[in-house]
Symmetry: C2
């Protein structure tokens, strides 16, 4: 049972994680509840989508006392940039607005080793899809270190090599199962990605927050263990926040590589609307039953889209929820309303994307 | 039995290797015999000390046709630079004089991961002991790429990361036994050390010769396997020559970390003479017996020193050999004669060392 839990939390073999409470009990995360009111201007914290953390108190203190801190995040340059990715972008922007120095890594070595994606393909995706969307979602290019794992500063590679002394083989096996040299390089590189913002050359020791989905916790734990054992570098373990996953539009997993499961932020609005109209909802077997019993927003991908992204106003969201569970609004009308929100969002966003392209290219070319 | 053989050839747990012929039979090395006459101006080839090779024909062809080729070697920055290391230096100089582009790696990441030597200590040893002695032994600083594993060009780290896709775990286990992340990083880095001279940025695909002791063959085989499987880079497997080991002065192994076992090239001549006078020889239980039966140069560390280093003239060496086996010269006198050769060598060498220091510092500071 324990073994299965570990496997469920393996970043390279993700399954559905239903019971987020268990993660907190079994893996030593802390619930985010203490910070829900203080940081209620971030929708994901306010609505409990960011449900857990490690050492967020350090970040809270840095924000409070205006001390230096950083946010680090990585992107896997594969597949389309969808609403699941938007969550991370919104979190980056939020902490950037609250004083964090931002580090964004394009994990092209990992995508090569684990998925066989050539570096030039990964580079194109990272810049044209990910970085461009990040900028269009409001991330400030001025306060941003963006790098490719295959093309960065020597200090970073040196740090990774020295860190390799720390993790034990059994520790790696417990997290990743059967090991390969590629997996080990990927894991160590990710540790360096997270820890190197504390290099002297980059301002030295400081709290670093890594906003991740719950499935990424094994990486966080490994990196925290490595940091706590490290003697060559004066660093502290990274902090993390954990968010829930969005489900796929048809139910099941949302996946970059399955276009039916997600809406890309670069998708033509008409196509996106079709996906909304075909999405899985919490509707009943007939209109009649639904009018009587009401819908089930907790099982509805349309409601999830509104909850996570399209309806930032809590009162409006509460109204949508009430109309559903009371049976007053049926799925067809609700989908049409959602399609309206989505069209507005995509049209506005895609205008910004057009403006962001050049900046993204420029950032990617700059030597870091 | 096979397993024990593998272990004997593990670069990190070296034992004595008595039967060099077996290495050729069991591990697919080729004997060097075909090239002994053609390359007889290199003492180690002429005298059969370099006994085996892989793909030396490619190097022969490059020399013959004046085509580009490279020599790559690594140094472990730990302990003193002794006569065992001088062998590699002489080989570097020989191939440099014969047109090779020279690549010398200071394996400071390996010495950190495998032996816990801090990078700054390794750097000092690499420059003041190794590189300085290399230059004093005649290696030309003009045609030389010298780097630290911890401080090199991004293309090199990128190459190592991409190469990590190739070796299988079982292959690594067969060579290194119990694995650790540090061992894997060391092994992959060494592969990149050997293969990266074929990067486009460094002149592209070409034969590369790696002169090594027989114990290093597992690294060579691994690197050749990686190169032959690689698809991202247009490279060929490295060639190698294999030399016999010098024994320790007291018998047993010569070791950098045991000062009694070796003579450092920076050693005070007086101290060096003392070591010579106390060395293990092939002498008999009494002078009388030795005068009758003769000495055994094949068991004599003094003879080995003359054979490998101090008596380059074959006729003179033959005379020393004859005087020993006939019983005409006894060990005491022979040691004194050797001490004379040694003093001359060390005094001349150490003058050159004094001149080489600044150049070594300059090379180490230059960004490669």
């Amino acid at each position: 049972m324990q073994k299965r839990k570990m496997k469920e939390l393996n970043p390279w073999e993700v399954g559905e994680i239903k019971d987020y409470g268990k993660l907190i009990k079994e893996f030593g995360m802390k619930p985010m509840d203490d910070y829900r009111i203080k940081y209620d201007d971030l929708l994901y914290i306010r609505r409990g989508i960011i449900f857990g953390h490690r050492d967020f108190n350090l970040i809270d203190e840095a924000i409070e006392k205006k001390k230096p801190y950083a946010l680090m995040t990585g992107l896997m340059p594969s597949g389309a940039f969808h609403f699941g990715h938007k969550m991370v972008a919104d979190e980056i922007k939020y902490f950037q607005d609250n004083g964090a120095q931002i580090f964004i890594c394009a994990a092209d070595i990992e995508s090569y080793l684990m998925r066989g994606i050539p570096l030039d393909v990964a580079r194109k995706t990272a810049v044209e899809d990910y970085l461009t969307n990040y900028l269009a979602l409001g991330i400030n290019p001025e306060n941003l270190t963006f790098w490719f794992q295959s093309d960065y500063r020597t200090e970073y590679y040196r740090m990774r090599d020295l860190l390799s002394k720390r993790p034990t083989f059994n520790e790696l096996k417990a997290i990743y199962g059967e090991l390969s040299t590629g997996k080990i390089i990927s894991a160590l590189t990710q540790a360096a990605d997270i820890l190197h913002p504390q290099l002297k050359e980059l301002g030295g020791k400081k709290p670093v927050i890594v906003p991740v989905g719950a499935d990424q916790d094994p990486h966080i734990r490994l990196t925290r263990d490595i940091a706590s054992r490290e003697t060559e570098y004066d660093i502290i373990p990274p902090a993390a926040t954990y968010h829930k996953f969005m489900g796929g539009l048809q139910g099941g997993k949302m996946s970059s590589s399955d276009p039916k499961s997600h809406i890309s932020l670069l998708e033509e609005p008409k196509k996106a609307i079709k996906k909304v109209m075909g999405a899985k909802t919490g509707g009943r077997e007939s209109a009649e039953v639904q009018r009587k019993k009401g819908g089930r927003p907790d099982q509805c991908m349309i409601y999830e889209l509104c909850l996570y992204h399209l309806v930032p106003d809590d009162i409006e969201l509460a109204r949508i929820h009430a109309e559903c569970v009371s049976g007053a609004t049926l799925c067809g009308d609700c989908k049409k309303r959602c399609a309206g929100f989505l069209t507005t969002f995509l049209e506005e966003h895609q205008k910004k994307v057009a403006q962001a392209r050049k900046t993204a290219e420029k950032i990617a070319k700059k030597k870091t």
